[in-house]
């Protein structure tokens, strides 16, 4: 199975970085989340309800919809904040970076090997940092970044509705191999966030530092 990848690019200021990441990743996660499964007798199960919430961005002219789950939002904010801090070092260099939201499946391996994580969908946001000195430029950037991310959200909807490969609904025993069961109110597909930033002071994209942030397991 080939992993499906989607990439988007946006140029913005460092102060807009966190909200941009949240807008894109929440929009993707909205489509990759279900209500909690409650298995009954005879293999039947009921599905909970997913609530939604509008979020107004402060640093750009954009409103996006996210799943109404505070633990999920906190986990994504942590990842976005770490990415922002890592990019601060690269800000002076005028470089860029990328952050990815990866959905994967766990495949049990035989013998004593650890489970294999097989990605099936990756959403990547490439960012290029801008340094704006004047307030009029910031106002233009405020609107332009909002329009860019609005187009990204429309693209996400188009890709999602192609109805390409998705993991099959699992049995109760195989649920943790497909879904993240740690959230109390919602059940997203297994996912993790990873980002890559260039070397900061050197000013060149040399050796990339890859950091894997396991999705929140500490709730």
């Amino acid at each position: 199975m080939n992993c499906r990848t989607q990439s988007f690019e946006v140029s913005l200021e460092i102060r807009q970085l966190e909200e941009a990441v949240l807008a894109v990743f929440h929009s993707a996660l909205l489509h990759r989340i279900t209500g909690k499964f409650h298995y009954k007798r005879e293999g039947t199960y009921s599905v909970g309800t997913v609530g939604v919430q509008d979020v107004d961005c402060d640093t750009m002219d954009l409103t996006y919809v996210r799943v109404h789950s505070e633990p999920l939002d906190r986990a994504l904010r942590r990842a976005a904040a770490e990415f922002r801090e890592a990019m601060r070092g690269a800000a002076a260099a005028g470089g860029g970076g990328q952050i990815s939201l990866e959905f994967y499946q766990r495949k049990r391996s035989r013998w004593l090997f650890s489970d294999e994580c097989i990605p099936w969908e990756v959403w990547t946001l490439h960012v290029r940092l801008l340094h704006l000195a004047s307030e009029p430029d910031r106002q233009v950037c405020h609107e332009r970044v909002g329009e860019t991310l609005a187009e990204v959200i429309r693209s996400i909807a188009v890709v999602i509705n192609r109805h390409e490969y998705m993991p099959k609904m699992p049995t109760e025993s195989e649920l943790p191999a497909v879904f993240q069961t740690g959230f109390p109110d919602v059940q997203p597909y297994l996912h993790r966030v990873a980002f890559t930033v260039p070397d900061g002071p050197a000013g060149s994209v040399g050796t990339a530092v890859r950091r894997l942030i396991k999705d929140t397991l500490a709730l």
Partner: protein
């Protein structure tokens, strides 16, 4: 929502089978079957289920679109257990007025091939001008997907499509407008079944496809066409015959928290057949409906065909310093400050100051004579202008005896500072150089104080 339905799908993971959810209690083992003539046919149960899915999907679509144009942020809670109204496992509240309107349109038929359901969003100003902003369409195309399982796959994909609709309704131009609606303009919506009407969007409108779901009865496609040219074009309603879609046929949703004076009660005398709600499918009895103002806190649906709407909007309270249209006067044709000219002594040769004088002969170079209307002296200047006491607001004579004009003139020509006079500049420079060593010595002695001061600033 869930129910019992056993569905064995060989495409699932090894050893896994699942039972899925609809309201039906009947087991469905096969979605389609072959007829005698070789064509494929959907089973009766699946057909019923699919029609129910489409119907409630249409209801939820209308709710999502209209709620996305309320002008306020939406928030619903995630729950571990779903209720009977949580169709597609999404918490989308049902606004009763919107549900009522949608049910009226869909009471006789659901969206089908050739009969799309449309939700039109438009803007109406307080002056009565209107402009179409968006047309959302839920269409069913003929292309069928026979291999898809209705009870699970179609249901889940419709849920995905609804989530996409939630996302996309926030990133169209009309969303930003809807967040700004208030006393100046409101956002209206109209639901109808039939051909998609995009004429209200003007030229250069853009279309986008939110998504599609294949079913055994056709492909459900959700799309949107939105206006790009938001420059307002007056579309004042002339006669009913001139306008294909009357503004009065629109349900308005005024979503501001305006005071009670701006609440517009619906007129009890509503047009019936002028609504244009649906096509000829609807009977005349269905169109003659009683539009009552089912007001809720923060949400008002204004009855259509309200002849008092422009008048009420015009009689609303206006803000400070706003002149009503009726009080506006045409610009005066008199020369400016003409009232000052009434106190001037009459001249024997007529009032030359009132009449436009002839152009002076500048090229002759001759000095102006007192008889020349343009000849002025300082004394004449004083006589030509009348000093008006301009006392500043809230000032008291005993505290500030001078008027504003005197105060201002006193600062217009301030005396020049002595340090800037020509003679003093050179003297001050020489003195500065002589004093420089002493100053440097004093600064060096106070260096520690300066450093401490700088540290307090950091």
């Amino acid at each position: 929502m869930w129910c019992r339905q056993q569905c064995q799908a060989p495409c699932l993971a090894v050893g896994a089978w699942k039972r899925l959810a609809i309201a039906s209690q009947v087991d469905c083992l096969q979605t389609t079957h072959m007829t005698m003539d070789g064509t494929r046919e959907i089973s009766l149960q699946d057909k019923k289920d699919l029609e129910k899915f489409l119907k409630f999907f249409a209801f939820k679509t209308v709710q999502v679109i209209v709620q996305g144009r309320l002008g306020e942020k939406i928030s619903t809670c995630s729950t571990a257990a779903s209720s009977g109204s949580d169709w597609f496992n999404l918490a989308i509240k049902d606004i009763p007025e919107v549900s009522q309107e949608a049910k009226k349109v869909l009471s006789t038929r659901i969206p089908a091939v050739g009969f799309p359901m449309c939700v039109e969003i438009s803007l109406k100003t307080c002056e009565g001008d209107s402009m179409g902003l968006e047309v959302w369409s839920l269409e069913v195309h003929e292309k069928c997907d026979w291999d898809v399982k209705v009870s699970h796959t179609v249901y889940n994909r419709l849920s995905l499509l609804l989530k996409s609709l939630l996302s996309v309704t926030r990133v169209t131009p009309a969303y930003k407008l809807s967040r700004k609606q208030g006393p100046d303009f409101v956002i209206l919506y109209r639901v109808y079944l039939g051909e998609v009407q995009m004429a209200c969007l003007g030229e250069g409108f853009q279309s986008m496809r939110v998504g599609a779901v294949g079913t055994p009865m056709g492909t459900v496609i959700l799309g949107c066409a939105y206006r790009t040219n938001l420059a307002f074009m007056s579309s004042r309603k002339g006669t009913e015959e001139d306008v294909e879609v009357s503004v009065e046929d629109l349900c308005t949703t005024s979503f501001s928290t305006s005071p009670a004076s701006q609440v517009i009660p619906p007129s009890p005398e509503h047009g019936t057949n002028t609504r244009g709600w649906a096509l000829s499918d609807l009977d005349a009895e269905q169109t003659s409906m009683d539009l009552t103002d089912t007001s809720r806190e923060g949400l008002r649906i204004i009855g259509i065909s309200n002849p008092n709407l422009p008048e009420v909007l015009a009689n609303r309270k206006s803000g400070a310093f706003v002149s009503r249209p009726g009080t506006q006067t045409l610009p005066s044709l008199d020369p400016p400050f003409s009232s000052f000219l009434t106190n001037l002594p009459e001249q024997d040769d007529g009032d030359n100051m009132m009449n436009p004088p002839d152009s002076p002969d500048m090229e002759s170079g001759s000095p102006r004579t007192p008889e020349d209307p343009y000849s002025t002296t300082s004394d004449d200047l004083q006589d030509d202008f009348i000093i008006v006491d301009m006392k500043p607001a809230f000032s008291k004579d005993d505290f500030l005896p001078m008027d504003l004009g005197t105060f201002y003139r006193g600062f217009q020509n301030p005396p020049q500072l002595t340090c800037f006079t020509t003679g003093s500049i050179s003297q001050s420079m020489a003195a500065e150089f002589e004093l420089l060593p002493e100053k440097l010595a004093a600064y060096e002695a106070s260096m520690e104080e300066f450093d401490a001061f700088v540290e307090t600033l950091q």
